[in-house]
């Protein structure tokens, strides 16, 4: 029998993301999607943020990888939910195979399809070792955090470790008020991103 992976004691997803947002003050590109695309704009707004919504599930990591390959001098962060990652676990292999080192994947693992109302993913009752999967795929840095104070204390250092990096954050479900509201229209965001990147 699979072992239940208890995420009820996970850290607050809002506070976990606030740690990342507080560290992203420079030239990093941040790609959010699904739940994080709704939470992040309430924490921080930057022209280099891409709130990938409407998205295709599992598309955030490849989108971020493309940006990382195109902008080798910048760090790129992809913030993905576990449901999205499960749709394309192979994307972890694609990342490593591409040779990109300027990419960090932050996995928000709550075992839920959050934006559709909180249904369980197939992994919700299983102890999936996502950091182990990433390590096996070849990520030189692959870590997980369950405790907010630990994550807060180590995040800045973790983001300087050799890339590509994979960071699993075990989080609880987002408060409903953070899942409401729309993101700016995607074409508008992308035009702003290209302007910020000084691309004609």
């Amino acid at each position: 029998m699979p072992t239940r992976n208890d995420r009820s004691s996970g850290m607050s997803v809002v506070e976990a993301l606030r740690v990342v947002a507080d560290l992203c003050c420079g030239q990093q590109i941040v790609v959010t999607n699904q739940g994080s695309a709704r939470i992040w704009p309430k924490l921080r707004r930057r022209p280099l943020d891409v709130h990938y919504n409407p998205s295709t599930m599992s598309g955030a990591i490849p989108l971020a990888l493309g940006l990382a390959l195109a902008q080798r001098h910048r760090e790129v962060l992809a913030i993905s939910g576990d449901g999205s990652l499960l749709m394309s676990l192979g994307s972890l292999v694609t990342v490593v195979g591409s040779g990109a080192t300027n990419l960090t994947i932050v996995l928000l693992d709550n075992g839920l399809y959050e934006v559709t109302g909180g249904q369980e993913t197939p992994a919700a009752r299983m102890a999936i070792d996502y950091a182990g999967i990433a390590r096996a795929a070849g990520f030189p840095t692959s870590l997980e955090f369950r405790d907010l104070s630990d994550w807060r204390a180590r995040a800045a250092d973790v983001l300087t470790l050799p890339g590509p990096r994979f960071i699993r954050l075990v989080v609880s479900a987002a408060p409903a008020e953070y899942l409401t509201g729309s993101t700016p229209p995607l074409p508008e965001q992308l035009a702003g991103l290209k302007t910020s990147l000084e691309i004609a």
């Binding site: 295709t56 490849p62 990888l65 493309g66 390959l69 195109a70 902008q71 394309s88 192979g90 995607l186």
Partner: protein, 160 residues
């Protein structure tokens, strides 16, 4: 239809910086030329659905990507294509191999559904069916790029 060195030269002359692909038996022989090119990078994905958002990221970052896959992969990656070409409105170009198109007796559904599905998407496309059609790839690519719209070259393939 194209040899590896031929297609590498065509892609490079068009300014393509990255080829994002999953090959089939007709396209696969291009691998050595594309992987060994000093003028462009070959990016291998595990699933065709990754190819479209990866190409989108490359495009947004100022590069000129080309997506290469078979019709089977086109079908598999329909939602990713929809998102990138229609929600994001990005002019990503692709080259799609159509398995068994040159085998008239074949009832391969990978060819049967190619045109109806592209008709549904309403995507600008053109065919390469015989060697004399080869220049159409560059012509169509340039036309789509100038217009800022996505486009597809369909490459007629024989039996695998």
């Amino acid at each position: 239809m194209f040899t590896g060195p031929e297609i590498e030269a065509v892609f490079a002359e068009l300014g393509i910086t990255h080829v994002v692909w999953i090959p089939d038996t007709a396209i696969g022989p291009w691998e050595a030329s594309l992987a060994g090119s000093s003028r462009l990078r070959l990016i291998r994905v595990c699933r065709e659905g990754e190819a479209w958002p990866l190409a989108a990221g490359l495009h947004l970052g100022g590069q000129i990507p080309l997506v290469v896959m078979q019709t089977t992969g086109l079908f598999e990656s329909g939602d990713a294509l929809r998102n990138v070409l229609f929600d994001m409105k990005l002019p990503i170009y692709s080259l799609i191999g159509v398995r068994n198109w040159l085998a008239p007796q074949s009832r391969d559904s990978a060819k049967t559904f190619a045109e109806p599905i592209l008709n549904a998407w309403g995507l600008d496309r053109q065919w390469i069916v015989e060697p004399a059609d080869k220049p159409k790839l560059a012509e169509h690519f340039c036309r789509c790029r100038l217009a800022g719209v996505p486009g597809i070259t369909l490459l007629a393939e024989g039996a695998p």
